[in-house]
């Protein structure tokens, strides 16, 4: 067969033989991530004598659990070809709403309800603007990013809400069993839920279809706008959940809460092997990326590396993860 015959219009060569399941699994991004995760773990245990300790490792999980909860929904959103840069600001607004409810004398169940409802509401605002009105998600969420946090600033200014009721601290500081925190358990449950949703349901298939070719998806009977709207709702909801955990862990609300989370969430998703152009990616990849980022942050922390240096590393990671494979493939 000549080279020309192998090449289709897109310029991609069609292989003569498909790779076997094992070969494909070995070559997959998830395998690379797993190797990296093990490497980081080993390097960390040599770098610091405090790393290999059940309680220290348990503390380390707080570095990623809240961000990872959002990353699951963000992964689906990015697979569908959209993005939400307002997640950190949703956390700020949700936390502020809960603070207001707390001042009005609300108990723990009401606070959680307010938190989830506010998150859903913010997601619905993004969803209406993007899916309902057909506006580009990058600009819309850059706008709502300043709008949502801006509302927090209007309410709080330079003040803070403190004094959340007893029992509210469980979400961010409680332990389910031994060293396993409530947040870690919630992370595991959400990972399972989103894995099922993305990889085992029609909805999940629709997300991939829209990310690969939204017009074709529309023609094959997928309600594209409705799926997109639902994805923004999910991102809002998970941001709400993350906000409840974070507020409970910090025990206070400031308008600057969770600044820069959007970068870490997007980095996590991209590191997890989700294509930033949409159409491909998996939840296990995101889980592994979350573990790696959490362990690296924790390792840096043990070595007394300042947070801002950590953020340089994150920025390099975000670009490197996309750049390196492209450099190797020669683009």
């Amino acid at each position: 067969m000549t080279e020309a015959a192998k090449t289709v219009a897109t310029g991609r060569a069609i292989p003569d033989r498909l790779q076997s399941r094992t070969t494909r699994a070995l070559h997959s991004w998830e395998t690379i991530l797993l190797v990296v995760a093990v490497l980081v773990f080993v390097i960390n245990s040599f770098a610091s004598p405090y790393f290999l300790n059940a309680w220290n490792l348990s503390d380390a999980t707080f570095n990623f659990t809240e961000k990872a909860m959002i990353a699951f929904a963000m992964a689906m959103l990015i697979i569908a070809g959209e993005i939400d840069l307002s997640v950190a600001s949703i956390i700020a607004l949700v936390s502020t709403a809960m603070g207001l409810a707390m001042q009005a004398g609300a108990g723990v169940p009401v606070l959680v309800g307010v938190g989830l409802a506010t998150g859903l509401f913010c997601g619905a605002v993004n969803g209406l603007l993007v899916a309902g009105m057909g506006l580009p998600s990058i600009v819309v969420t850059i706008g709502t990013m300043s709008l949502f946090r801006g509302i927090s600033y209007i309410v709080l200014g330079d003040k803070a809400f403190t004094g959340y009721p007893d029992g509210f601290d469980f979400f961010g500081q409680g332990y389910v069993w031994w060293v396993f925190s409530f947040e870690l358990a919630l992370f595991a449950v959400l990972a399972l839920v989103f894995w099922t949703l993305l990889h085992r349901t029609n909805f999940g298939r629709a997300v991939y279809a829209i990310g690969n070719n939204a017009t074709a998806a529309q023609f094959s009977g997928i309600r594209v706008a409705r799926v997109r709207f639902t994805l923004f709702l999910l991102t809002g909801l998970t941001s709400g959940i993350a906000a409840i955990c974070l507020t409970s862990r910090l025990g206070s609300t400031r308008p600057s809460i969770a600044t820069g989370f959007e970068l870490e969430v997007v980095t996590m998703v991209v590191l997890g092997g989700v294509s930033i152009l949409g159409g491909s990616g998996t939840i296990p990849g995101v889980v592994l990326a979350a573990l790696i980022m959490g362990m690296v942050t924790f390792g840096f922390g043990l070595l007394n590396v300042p947070g801002i240096v950590m953020s340089i590393f994150l920025g390099l990671l975000l670009i490197g993860v996309i750049a390196v494979p492209r450099l190797i493939r020669g683009r």
């Binding site: 990058i138 850059i142 706008g143 709008l147 939204a214 706008a225 300042p306 801002i308 994150l314 670009i319």
Partner: protein, 322 residues
Amino acid sequence: MSILKHREALLALAILLLVGVVAARFPAFVRPGNLANVFNDTSPLILLAIGQMIVILTKCIDLSMAATLALCGMVAALLNGAGVPLPLILVLVVVLGGLLGAVNGLLVWKLGIPSIVVTLGTMTIYRGTIFLITDGAWVNAHQMTDDFKALPRAVIAGLPVMSWVALAAIALFTVLLTRTPLGRSFYAVGGNPHAAVYTGISVGRTQFLAFVIAGALAGLTGYLWVARYAVAYVDIASGFELSVVAACVIGGVAIAGGAGSVIGTVMGALFLGVINNALPVVGISPFWQLAISGSAIVLAVAFNSAQNRPAGRIILKSVEPR
């Protein structure tokens, strides 16, 4: 073209209305001296918004502009402390800004990484670099020489140098974008990349140049900012990239690329500048600024898309996904 003209007229009307409402209760606001102050205050936003507009014209976005500004500003302050003469500092910040923009541009051009990801990454890298070179220390007014601090405030023909720089940039880039092949290629690349390739324009190279211009403008603004406020630290102009995008979107720059004008962008920036300056006068807390520019972005982008919707009779109903 008529739509664009129409839009700029609308914006001008909105700004006049805004100024009028404030002036009705606080007549001092419209004194020429105060209006010149408002323009001077808005100059950094205008400079950055022009750079951002050129980047957006080519279907990209630059979220690292505020970080570039901060890094160049800090470098300017440190060079000043090291005794480097002012003219050389000015050249160096523009070159450094251009280089930082070139990094963004190269990643977009040579590796085809979406600009939003590149600049989201470089945003934290550039700002983190300030921390690395200063260890978080501030450069305060007493550590700067007098000529370094005086330049942006020096008054020439009734206006401070900072305003003159903004006016010069407006004139320069209006000519560049409407009267030169490079300027037209920014529009061509954003309007229809495929057609641009067939007319012999390199899409990647044009995007690269847009990032370099944006970076150089941010670099220059970095010096102006640090010299005017007489302080440099890690977090200066933090979050400013949002206002810059807001100014562009309000000014009618299409986020999908290919449409927008310098005049529109300048008016978008002035719109925000008037609001920011009027808030304290009217007695509203400055904490409202963020929410106002956020709603302005959302409203403007909704307005833009409503205006760009093709008019006329529907012959074949579109099945394009929304």
